[in-house]
């Protein structure tokens, strides 16, 4: 399988207070297309920061991060936005749906920023909603959906641009165990269909479902 992510000697400092905090220390790893990887570690181990960097939401201080053959370094906000839109789908712990939009419009939103026409956007969004089993909820607002349904909408939204990489930040963190299991099944199914999945979690049972684990401790990869 071709390389999707390559991280070499990555360092990140947080510039808060007097002394910069060394958050990520000489991180190096690689992820191939189609893999399912769990990043785990105690809170404060730097896993969220790593996710932000991988999601091009944050920059790093030294080293290299290559995504789908493109070096992600010192990008302008515009470029970063375009790469995020094209390469990455985000699934957040708190779903991050826009409350004033229907499930359908939430799913279609990333395509709006690609300049895709309204009709096509809505058709693709409807397809994805049916794929995550929420066809009948398309015109509901997030407040009318359960937690699991919200996360399904968020996953559909993350997938609509056909990203190379699905980044999930504690995707089941706000869900009960039954719902969490069903969300994990959905993610596994997507992975089997070819989506590369990287998720951050501190729950061992969730991490155990991934084929591969990257364990962070104090800013370093320990296994």
């Amino acid at each position: 399988m071709p390389r999707l992510i390559e991280v070499e000697q990555l360092n990140k400092f947080h510039k808060s207070g007097d002394a910069p905090l060394h958050v990520l220390k000489d991180l190096s790893f690689a992820i191939d297309e189609g893999e399912m990887v769990a990043v785990t570690g105690a809170s404060g181990s730097g896993k969220s920061t790593l996710l932000n960097i991988l999601g091009i939401l944050d920059d790093y201080d030294s080293g290299r991060y290559t995504l789908a053959g493109t070096l992600m370094r010192g990008l302008s906000e515009r470029k970063a936005a375009q790469y995020r839109n094209r390469f990455i789908g985000f699934v957040f712990q708190s779903f991050n749906l826009l409350p004033f939009k229907t499930a359908l419009d939430n799913v279609a939103l990333p395509l709006y920023y690609q300049g895709v026409g309204r009709t096509k956007r809505r058709r693709l969004a409807a397809d994805l909603l049916s794929k995550v089993g929420l066809s009948d909820r398309a015109h509901h607002h997030p407040e009318e959906l359960s937690g699991g349904q919200k996360q399904r909408v968020a996953i559909a939204r993350a997938l609509i641009t056909r990203p190379s990489l699905l980044l999930a930040d504690e995707p089941t963190g706000a869900l009960d165990s039954v719902t969490a299991a069903s969300i994990m099944e959905l993610l596994e199914e997507l992975n089997r269909e070819g989506t590369t999945l990287l998720m951050v979690t501190h729950e061992p049972s969730i991490a155990a479902r991934a084929a591969r684990r990257i364990v962070l401790h104090d800013g370093r990869v320990v296994s």
Partner: protein, 410 residues
Amino acid sequence: MFGLDAANELLQLLWRNRVRTALTALAVSWGIFLLVILVALGRGLENGAVHDFRDDAVNSIWIRGMKVSLPFNGRAPGRKVQFKNADLLALQRRLNGIEHLSGRYYVSGNFAVSHGSKSAHFDIRGVHPDHVFLEKTLITDGRFINPRDIDERRKVAVIGPLVQKALFGDQPYLGHEIQIRGVIYQVVGLYDDEGGRGELSRIYIPISTAQLVYHGSDNIHHILFTVGEASNEQSAAMEQRARSLLSERHGISLADRRALNINNNLIRFQKVSEIFRWISAFVWLVGLGTLLAGVVGVSNILLISVQERSVEIGIRKALGATPLALVRMVLSEALVITLLAGYFGLFSGVALVEFARPWFADSDLVRNPEVDLKSSLIALAILVSAAMIAGAAPAWRAALVKPIVAMRSL
């Protein structure tokens, strides 16, 4: 910049915050409303002042003899300067550039004027034929005083519409007689004048007749002339030459500014016009200040809005919104609020001005307040730029929101 989707988003947003939107819109509306009203008032003031001049020829110079205030050539001050027919002739001969020239003889006191059984008091003036140009008198029926009336000292009269109404009512008046304290005059003309009531209740008679009948010998009370197309400087020069000529004839020191009362309408008019240009500028300044307050309001609201929506903006960024797209989003919000509210303010302002106009049609102070197309367009342009200024800071802030805030939204 403004697709259907963006419009939809914007409407949703404005509706979600409808109270806030309404209050902000009110501030902008109020600003532009006041601007329109102020500009209209300023224009009205200006119209009133210009109208004040309309009744007389703007390019006219009016000279009156007053008391001599300085000794000169061995003559003591204190005597009154009395113009004579010869002064008028001298001016005509020696002052180049005079277009129309007339003397005026005030028949002092309100004389009882009668026709048949009807009688009233009117203002009576003896004038030359050219006087018709100086007061911008409009002959609506018959004729004005002519040179033959002067030469033959005819007893003819040109009457104002109020005189005609009072003495003749609906009866024919041309060729009919009126009596001015026992002396019979024939009405030869009816005039109209754009001045006020006072201007419309006068009786003009030949100056030679007035001098003869009312024991004026060859006295003239007021000398009036117009300067044609003369510029300000030329007009001032003519005023100066007239002063020196008359001073010389009457043995007045040239330094004696009080002996001759000279009114140069052209220069006065220009001074007044200048004052009104300043007033107009001031009015715009005040109006813009009010508008600025509205703009600051919009800017504040947008800043709050961006602040409140930082999570939403973060999510949008994570989903691929470029800074430009976010700047557009905020700017279009500013644009829509200011344009809709501004249009409403503009519309109500213009509506109020148009509605109130009839009440000011005849007023002297504020006359015909109006908002012209140019002012409206300027106001509109100001609005649009105001919207852009109002949106600039919040848009910038929105563009700079870190997408990570979306991750921290727990």
